[in-house]
């Protein structure tokens, strides 16, 4: 039997029972469609979060006082009370090879009241001029404060995008006054929105000069974190170890009383979490594929029984086992393949709509399309094999007598 003949037989058999073929295909369409959509949404979420983390600076090390231990989170005795990061640590860090910029920071949450009467509770970040460079901050409006303003305990503030709109709405905040913990600051700049990462991201903070933060606003002289940007991304692990060693010597401790987190660590953790989540969603969708496959098998068994006499006739006039089994196998594969193609389109449509309505920037990968095609063909073969074998094993005499 030639392939052209098999395809002709297949199309006429599938078209003979349009409703049944359609309903059976629906199982595969939904299965493949949801796998594609889930993978696309997962991929989109991953790229989205990776983008925001990288936007914060991917060559960044953050040194924090206190100890973060795996599985136990931040040990509270370390962070809150210990004020282990101080001014004299900065030269030690700066001396480490591979360190580009060292930006000491002190942040606390305070109430901010604007001269419009609006107020908000947000993170007040005391920082130096290099803060903007280390964290890839871009000003939407106005200027960053200068080194002189930092040294002179200046009362200038730069607002994050969210804070600016909370306090001033449509009004241009440049030149307006805000009051933080009793001190009045003049707004000199507004940051461009970074998106993502709602909590403690740069959108929800007010940046003021570090000495002002230490001496005027909070009355503390330590740092809540020191951000270090590294010259070479590849050397981050090495720089991290070196800083740890040097700081331990400086602090004269055997066990580090500070922690260093690299942006890469966060990125890796988030990627792992999202991958796991995506795989979880995709495997739930995969279950519906198996259900769809069982539907195919059910239909093929019905078809084989219905067409027993036809099979008997075909065998009587010279069809071999292989001809019969191939005919029914191809029928099952055609069902899953067409179903798979429609399912891919459907999944793509779903992820397109998700992107279109701005929920999430999704991306359908070639990998997931190939996977879906492979899986649907495989389901056709697996679930079509048994019915096809049953058809080919029929005895022509019995099959012809079948009523």
């Amino acid at each position: 039997m030639k392939y052209r003949d098999i395809l002709e037989e297949t199309s006429s058999a599938l078209l003979a029972n349009k409703v049944r073929s359609g309903l059976t295909m629906l199982g595969i369409i939904i299965g493949i469609g949801s796998v594609i959509a889930m993978l696309a949404i997962g991929q989109g979420a991953k790229q989205n979060i990776q983008g925001s983390i990288e936007g914060l600076g991917s060559n960044l090390l953050t040194i924090m006082p206190g100890v973060i231990q795996a599985g136990r989170g931040i040990v509270s005795s370390g962070r809150g009370s210990a004020e282990t990061l101080k001014n004299e640590d900065l030269p030690v860090i700066e001396k480490v090879e591979g360190v580009a910029i060292v930006s000491p920071e002190l942040s606390r949450r305070f109430q901010v009241v604007a001269d419009t009467g609006n107020n908000t509770n947000t993170t007040i970040m005391g920082a130096e001029v290099k803060y903007a460079e280390v964290h890839n901050l871009i000003l939407a409006n106005g200027n960053f404060f200068s080194a002189e303003q930092v040294r002179g305990l200046g009362r200038q503030a730069i607002l994050g995008a969210t804070v600016a709109s909370d306090l001033f709405g449509e009004i241009d905040p440049i030149g307006r006054k805000v009051r933080i913990n009793g001190s009045v600051f003049r707004v000199i700049g507004v940051l461009q929105a970074k998106g993502g990462f709602g909590f403690s991201g740069p959108d929800d903070m007010v940046i003021i000069p570090l000495p002002t933060m230490q001496k005027v606003v909070s009355g503390l002289d330590n740092f809540s974190s020191v951000s270090v940007s590294v010259v070479d991304k590849e050397a981050m692990a090495q720089v991290q170890t070196q800083i740890t060693d040097d700081l331990m010597i400086k602090h004269r401790v055997k066990e580090a009383d500070f922690s260093i987190i690299s942006q890469q660590d966060i990125l890796d953790t988030m990627s792992t979490v999202i991958n796991t989540f995506t795989m979880f969603l995709a495997s739930i969708a995969g279950i519906s594929l198996v259900v769809g496959g069982i539907g195919i098998m059910n239909m093929m068994l019905t078809t084989v029984t219905e067409r027993t006499r036809e099979i008997g006739l075909r065998k009587a006039i010279g069809a071999k086992r292989r001809d019969i089994s191939l005919q029914f196998l191809i029928e099952a594969i055609a069902l899953t393949f067409i179903g798979g193609a429609i399912g891919i389109f459907l999944g793509w449509l779903v992820s397109f709509l998700v992107t279109y309505f701005g929920v999430l920037q999704t991306s359908v990968s070639w990998y997931s399309i190939l996977l879906a095609f492979g899986v649907s063909a495989l389901i056709g073969i697996i679930f079509g094999y048994y019915p096809a074998r049953r058809a080919s094993a029929m005895n022509p005499i019995d099959a012809l007598r079948y009523e």
């Binding site: 039997m1 030639k2 052209r4 003949d5 006429s12 003979a16 006499r309 036809e310 008997g312 006739l313 075909r314 065998k315 009587a316 006039i317 010279g318 069809a319 071999k320 086992r321 292989r322 001809d323 022509p396 005499i397 012809l400």
Partner: protein, 235 residues
């Protein structure tokens, strides 16, 4: 040329052996028109299955055109059926929702014949079986019983077989249509020299053949040659 010798077929149901055929043997030459006749349960269907290479005998030999078919596998038998045997069934067994032309060319699909050749040979076979060209693109549910059986005859002819086996071909037809179909077999035998074996339990049907083999209880009880008609009439 068909040569069967000492054919025995035993069916085993549970612990009981049932002998459907006992030591059957005869020879049918090319161009003969033979009727195998017997009451139901006589073993004529079993004999037809063996002659049609649908089944093999428990013992004995069956030579078709010099080849021994008694020890072949399923797929080898399928090849023999494909090349050498044409079937006409009582219940027609045409494919539904399929045109007359495609039904007639079905055996050629399995014989790996090219599409052009198939079309040509199916048309020839349909003409030989006495079907008008106007019906070639009709589906089988648009035809009368007699026309359907002529499509089935065309399907049996299309692979140019050594042997046409007709199993109660008039069983589902009225007498008049049955006569036309039997006339078609006679014409194919006389004009084209086709070897035809007709299996039936009806005397009137068997009379159309030149030779009648009577089967009863799995044995050949009578084998009448040229004067079959006269002998039957005398009984």
């Amino acid at each position: 040329m068909i040569e069967i010798k000492n054919i025995t077929k035993t069916y085993r149901t549970g612990d009981v052996d049932f002998q459907a055929l006992k030591n059957v043997g005869f020879t049918i030459k090319d161009g003969e028109f033979v009727a195998i006749m017997g009451p139901s349960g006589s073993g004529k269907s079993t004999l037809m299955h063996i002659l049609g290479a649908l089944d093999t005998a428990t013992s004995g030999t069956y030579f078709l055109d010099g080849r021994d078919l008694s020890k072949l596998s399923d797929d080898e038998l399928a090849e023999i059926r494909c090349d050498k045997i044409g079937f006409v069934f009582q219940s027609f067994n045409l494919l539904p929702r399929t045109t007359v032309l495609r039904n007639a060319m079905l055996p050629l699909v399995y014989a790996q014949v090219s599409h052009e050749e198939r079309d040509k040979r199916a048309r020839e076979a349909l003409f030989s079986a006495g079907l008008d060209e106007g019906h070639f693109y009709h589906k089988s549910n648009q035809l009368s019983g007699g026309q359907i059986q002529r499509v089935a005859i065309a399907r049996a002819l299309v692979n140019n077989p050594s042997l046409i086996l007709a199993d109660e071909p008039t069983g589902n037809l009225d007498t008049k249509t049955g006569e036309i179909v039997l006339g078609t077999f006679q014409r194919l035998n006389e004009e084209q020299g086709k070897t035809i074996i007709l299996i039936t339990h009806e005397r009137e049907v068997a009379e159309h053949a030149d030779r009648i083999i009577f089967i009863r209880d799995g044995e050949v009880v009578e084998d009448h040659g040229q004067h079959a008609k006269r002998i039957i009439n005398r009984k």
